[in-house]
Symmetry: C2
Subunit: 144 residues, 2 copies
DNA sequence: GCTTGCTCCTCTAGTCGCTAGAGGAAGTAC
DNA sequence: GTACTTCCTCTAGCGACTAGAGGAGCAAGC
């Protein structure tokens, strides 16, 4: 039977660390489980699934608030899934923007390190490019 | 002449927000400028250059500590620039890893939203993939 | 002179998603 | 009975800011 798990077992099974599990409980992402006589948390199989879901979503870069919504949706399987789709699409857009930004950044870093003649700071391309924004190809801000 | 600037002017010139400038001063990234009679910060042209340097480096994703080192290097132009080069190279590696990770992530998000038939949550591909890690192509962790 | 409105000052607290550590109790192994 | 591990709660810290309170300086108009 899908018995009871200690928080340590839940952590090992789900890959979410012990303090993080407690943190998720604190912020209401994971329901507070029943306790043993001695006051220890006792998790069931459904909790492990929920934790795995959260972990996977975090790995994919979803924010806690988005995961909260996704979990609510998961709990109501007869709802239309437009909301889940929208969250994923939104996130996809974010990720694409981030990739574009990082790719531009990579090009600039490559220019830096390739241009560096390993001489002295006075003539260092790395320092130079950082000092002169005008000289560089990077003109759109935003989180890298 | 390269006169004196208020913190607001420095912010406009450098693109760094006013509270952020004060924050940089607090953490010792920017020297504390002289004050006017009325106690207001009075910046010179060198401060503006330093701020622009910091801003650019932050835009490129360098961490404050790395910027601190880069600024120290900039202040000693006769030093060899190996350290600056190493910082840039390090950062390039980080950025490349991040791009790889995000690219894998993008593929998975695309699978999600393309597979979504816009029906109900019970059969939603987005929710499904999140629930079943085994089903997905994403197996290496790391910061996205 | 006086008021209006903007910028500036300091200080504290909040953001996000955890992570670390203190100090103590419960459970397990020998 | 004692050693060891795991668990408990609680508070504080990380990075890099951001927001807001409460007050003072300063320039312009009347």
């Amino acid at each position: 039977m899908t018995g009871a798990y200690t928080i340590g077992e839940a952590a090992r099974e789900s890959g979410v660390k012990v303090p993080t599990i407690r943190y998720y409980e604190e912020i209401g992402l994971l329901p507070a489980p029943p306790r043993t006589e001695g006051g220890r948390r006792s998790y069931g199989a459904a909790d492990l699934r929920r934790l795995a879901f959260i972990r996977h979503a975090r790995e994919l870069g979803f924010e806690i608030d988005a995961i909260r919504t996704l979990l609510q949706l998961q709990d109501q399987p007869d709802q239309p899934c437009a909301a889940a789709d929208a969250i994923a699409r939104d996130h996809l857009v974010t990720v694409e923007r981030r990739i574009a930004s990082l790719t531009a950044l990579r090009a600039e870093l490559q220019r830096m390190v390739e241009g560096c003649s390993h001489g002295h700071v006075a003539s260092c391309r790395v320092i130079e490019i950082l000092a002169d924004h005008g000289e560089c190809a990077h003109h759109e801000g935003g989180r890298a």
